[in-house]
Amino acid sequence: MKLLAAALCMSVGVITPAIAEGMIAGKAMEAMGRNPEAGNAMFPRMIVGLAIVESLAIYCLVIALIILFAA
């Protein structure tokens, strides 16, 4: 039951961050392709956006770890 809970937590929780990260990276690539000179200015902002979205998935991971090792 614990394993199932952890697996569900990860697999369901990762769906939306995956979509969001794909959108961020795709849009950033599009913008960089249109305006290559601004690429250097865009890159750190893209990384920050990705990191903030990634933290959703990381919360799921932490909860899964707590379920597995602690609860």
Binding site: P44, A51, E54, I58, F69, A70
Partner: protein, 281 residues
């Protein structure tokens, strides 16, 4: 609410320690292993590893300084590239060159410490020293949640101390938005003031959320990388050798990216709150 959540997390960690000790020779454990206790100060294996990382950084910097001059050595040009890069991104975050120069050492400390601590597991032989009971003498420092929470607290509390030391009332006014009460002229203004006070409360909660998200991101990425390598090795006897290699490579990449992300986010948080102090309304 957050304090109770943190207390709960501490309880959970304590329970996890019992589970890990009962489990015996388990490789992966959430809390780190106590090595010695000096008074009430617990020296865990990750603390020892963090001290080793500090020593490594000092040696690296001394090596880079040796023979440094107008004609750069290879090490010197590497460090100069890192410093120039961070100086320019600090200038973006903080607004002016003087402020960027002033806060540069703090962020360089973050990037060097986290980048080297994340790569701790690829130092040969050091991670294989074992104590009685199956625990290792050293552990990747950032795969211990205490370490990353400590780093995040230093970053966020540090940003508040810096902001308070520059313009205390303006900084506090950002969180306790009582100044809008004095601007009430009409009924709609009263509603507006209430809304502003509520936003201020949200900002206070947001500061605690920043600590949790900063620390959980770094910890989660590094710990997950470690767990993945152990799991791949544990599937079957033949997966112990070549198979973990791509995952170790991924772990190295993720380690550098997360060190950069932690430093960049700290920079944005600190730069945002300090830049707001110099703006005129």
């Amino acid at each position: 609410m957050i304090e109770t959540a943190l207390a709960k997390a501490a309880e959970v960690a304590a329970e996890a320690a019992e589970v890990a000790e009962a489990g015996g020779g388990e490789h992966v454990s959430l809390p780190s292993h106590n090595i010695i206790e000096i008074g009430s100060f617990h020296v865990t294996n990750s603390v020892l590893a963090a001290f080793l990382c500090t020593a490594l950084i000092i040696v690296l910097i001394l090596l880079a300084r040796r023979k440094a001059g107008i004609i750069p050595t290879k090490m010197q040009s590497l460090f100069e590239a890192v410093i120039t890069f961070f100086l320019s991104s600090l200038e973006d975050a903080f607004g002016t060159k003087e402020r960027a120069r002033k806060y540069l050492p703090l962020f360089l400390t973050f990037i060097f410490l986290i980048a080297i601590a994340n790569q701790f597991s690829i130092i040969p032989l050091v991670m294989n020293i074992k104590l009685e009971g199956g625990a290792t003498l050293f552990r990747v420092p950032t795969s211990d949640w205490s370490m990353t929470i400590a780093l995040a607290i230093v970053a966020i509390v540090g940003s508040h101390i810096l902001a308070l030391s520059i313009k205390p009332f303006k900084h506090l006014g950002h969180y306790f938005r009582l100044q809008y009460i004095f601007k009430i002229r009409k009924v709609t203004d009263a509603l507006n003031a209430l809304l502003e006070i509520f936003i201020g409360i949200l900002e206070v909660i947001g500061e605690f959320a920043k600590i949790i998200s900063l620390s959980a991101r770094l910890f989660g990425n590094i710990f997950a990388g470690e767990v993945m390598v152990v799991m791949i090795g544990a599937i079957a006897s033949f997966t112990q050798f070549l198979f973990p290699m791509p995952f170790i490579g991924l772990g190295i990449f993720v380690g550098f990216v997360q060190a950069y992300v932690f430093t960049l986010l700290t920079m944005q948080f600190m730069g945002g709150s300090i830049k707001a102090l110099y703006e005129h309304h």
